[in-house]
Symmetry: C2
Subunit: 212 residues, 2 copies
């Protein structure tokens, strides 16, 4: 399924129905794509202003990075749904014999790893998006500064949301080394995300007197 082809209304309805997919992980990826798009828009609105020409090279780089991020994050919607469906399939495998039980347990463990990896990747991209938001808050077109605040606030919400989806999938995982690595990375990302959001808030308070 390619969810990005659905209309917004269809997607919202698919989220709300009693099927568990698309769920929080998929929605986090979509919100990440929207946050990247807002930053890309502000970078574009800065490129169309000649009085910001000192920052045009930086804004071109940001446009290109955000295009890449939003493309990847739209793909993460599908990957997240697929990963969750595979966890469900693994749990439905037969468990009548010792061999079946072993096979089922392995399938569950493998599927949980992938179900943790996808929102982990979403978190990693969101952390990068928030770092770029700081540059756009500082050097972007002042007329669009509220859009940078929106991007940063939404990206932080999506980061926490995706993080919850990593954590829930790690819970039943037995590979301690895998868990430890992801939790360590997430901790680092969290610090970077909080720092970037704080910077965006401080810069916009200073440049435009907006205090969320």
């Amino acid at each position: 399924m390619n969810f990005a082809k659905l209309s917004i209304r269809e997607f919202v309805e698919k989220v709300s129905d009693k099927s568990p997919t698309p769920g929080g992980g998929a929605v986090s990826a979509l919100v990440g794509a929207l946050a990247a798009s807002l930053i890309e828009m502000v970078a574009n609105l800065t490129l169309s202003r000649s009085d910001y020409s000192d920052w045009h090279a930086e804004m071109e780089r940001i446009v290109s990075t955000m295009q890449e991020k939003r493309t990847i994050l739209l793909d993460c919607i599908d990957l997240d749904v697929k990963a969750f469906d595979q966890v469900m399939s693994a749990y439905r495998l037969p468990k009548n014999t010792v061999e079946e039980k072993e096979k089922r347990s392995q399938a569950i463990q493998e599927s949980l790893k992938q179900a943790a990896r996808v929102p982990y990747e979403t978190c990693r991209h969101l952390k990068e998006i928030l770092k770029q938001a700081v540059a756009v808050a500082q050097w972007g077109n002042i007329n669009a500064i509220s859009d940078v605040v929106s991007a940063a606030e939404l990206a932080e919400g999506a980061f926490n949301s995706a993080k919850a989806n990593v954590l829930i999938n790690l819970k039943s995982l037995k590979d301690e080394k895998f868990k430890e690595n992801l939790l360590h990375e997430l901790k680092t990302f969290t610090g970077e995300v909080e720092g970037a959001l704080k910077s965006v808030r401080e810069i916009t308070a200073q440049r435009a007197d907006i205090r969320v």
Copy 2:
């Protein structure tokens, strides 16, 4: 324009291009609709479990409220874009004579009020969504608890994002009474949003040991 009819990919592209609409206000409304949908999904997943029957009446009420909220918030996307376009049109009115200047100034003030009202309404709905998230975190299907965390974290991000859009539009507004009222309401909402998010985090830490 009915933005909810666009595909997700088309909408994301429209956000990212150099036109200032759809911007942060419109995206906040969409993320609000997505958060409402996630809560509705968890309420539906609770209704399909007979062992949660004590909470079925409450969950039915929540499904109905979330359906209403997501419908309203999808409409807010269009309202936000329209309000912003009217601010732009007002600024483009002629200002050659004293009469024209006066007319333009009035049009700007009126359009700014509407451009503040729409994200203010988005904030008000998001505050309600977050309150319902607390009930679903507490009494909803435990298997979908990470989706409630996602909904709450995304709703808080969307609230802050919409709030930034109210604040930016209030900045050039001269009607002090109007400003004061909206700022007072926003302050109350902010406290309620922070309290609800804190409750969702505490409940999910307790019920499922997830700590974002």
